[in-house]
C-alpha cells in the first residue's frame, strides 16, 4: 500500500518564476492538505482540498493556489516566487475532511534563488 507520494523531491527556481508541486494521496484517502515548513519551524497550513474544492485556507497569499483531480491527487502552484518561499512543502492526506489524523509525504524541497 503506497503512502503519500510527492514529486519532485527537490526543485531550484529563481525569483519571479512559477512552480507546480504534485501529490498523490494514500490509497483510500480523498482529502489532501498542503503545508509549508520553513527551516527551524513547524509545518504551516496552506490549504485543504476535498471533492475537488478548496475547503480551508491558511494565511497565505493568492500566489499560492491548488487543484484536486477526480482521482484525489493534487497540485500546489506558486506564482511570482519570492526568496521567502524557499521551504519544504509537505502534502498530507486523510480519509475525509475533518478526519484528524493526516499522513504526510516526504515533501518537496523548494529553493528560490
Amino acid at each position: 500500500d503506497a503512502g503519500v507520494t510527492q514529486s519532485p523531491t527537490h526543485l531550484i527556481k529563481t525569483r519571479g518564476q512559477q512552480v507546480t508541486l504534485r501529490c498523490s494521496p494514500k490509497s483510500g484517502h480523498d482529502t489532501v492538505s498542503w503545508y509549508q515548513q520553513a527551516l527551524g519551524q513547524g509545518p504551516q497550513f496552506i490549504f485543504q482540498y476535498y471533492e475537488e474544492e478548496e475547503r480551508q485556507r491558511g494565511n497565505f497569499p493568492d500566489r499560492f493556489s491548488g487543484h484536486q483531480f477526480p482521482n484525489y491527487s493534487s497540485e500546489l502552484n506558486v506564482n511570482a516566487l519570492l526568496l521567502g518561499d524557499s521551504a519544504l512543502y509537505l502534502c498530507a492526506s486523510s480519509p475525509g475532511t475533518g478526519k484528524n489524523i493526516q499522513y504526510f509525504g516526504a515533501g518537496t524541497r523548494l529553493s528560490v534563488l
Binding site: 519551524q41 513547524g42 509545518p43 485543504q48 475547503r55 509537505l90 499522513y103 504526510f104 515533501g107
Partner: protein, 116 residues
C-alpha cells in the same frame, strides 16, 4: 501568533531512561492533539493522538497526557531508544465546524537525542 508552542528546542536523554516532551496550546477550540516524529529527509510520521475527552492515551512505549485546564500536553517515551532520536512535533486541531476544522496547527518541534 503561535497557537501551539514547544518551548524546548532540544532534549538529550540516555538510552533506557524516560523522555518527556512538552507542548502548550492557547486556542480553547482545540479538541484533538497529535504527536508526529520526523527524521531528516522524511515527512512527519504520525505517532500517537489524544482526544480532549481523555486525559491519557497509551501505545506501547509512548504515552500522551493531556491537561485541559492548563492547556498542556506531554509525550512520554519509556524506555527511550537510540532509534527514537528525531524531531518531535506537537499538533492540534478541532473536530468542530469552523475555520480550524481539518487543519493542523504545529509547534516548532523538539529535537530528541537518545544516547547509548
Amino acid at each position: 501568533d503561535q497557537q501551539v508552542k514547544q518551548n524546548s528546542p532540544s532534549l538529550s536523554v540516555q538510552e533506557g531512561r524516560i523522555s518527556i516532551l512538552n507542548c502548550d496550546y492557547t486556542n480553547s477550540m482545540f479538541d484533538y492533539f497529535l504527536w508526529y516524529k520526523k527524521y531528516p529527509a522524511e515527512g512527519p510520521t504520525f505517532l500517537i493522538s489524544i482526544s480532549s475527552i481523555k486525559d491519557k492515551n497509551e501505545d506501547g512505549r509512548f504515552t500522551v497526557f493531556l491537561n485541559k485546564s492548563a492547556k498542556h500536553l506531554s509525550l512520554h517515551i519509556v524506555p527511550s531508544q537510540p532509534g527514537d532520536s528525531a524531531v518531535y512535533f506537537c499538533a492540534a486541531t478541532s473536530q468542530r465546524l469552523g475555520s480550524t476544522l481539518g487543519r493542523l496547527y504545529f509547534g516548532r518541534g523538539t529535537q530528541l537525542t537518545v544516547w547509548p
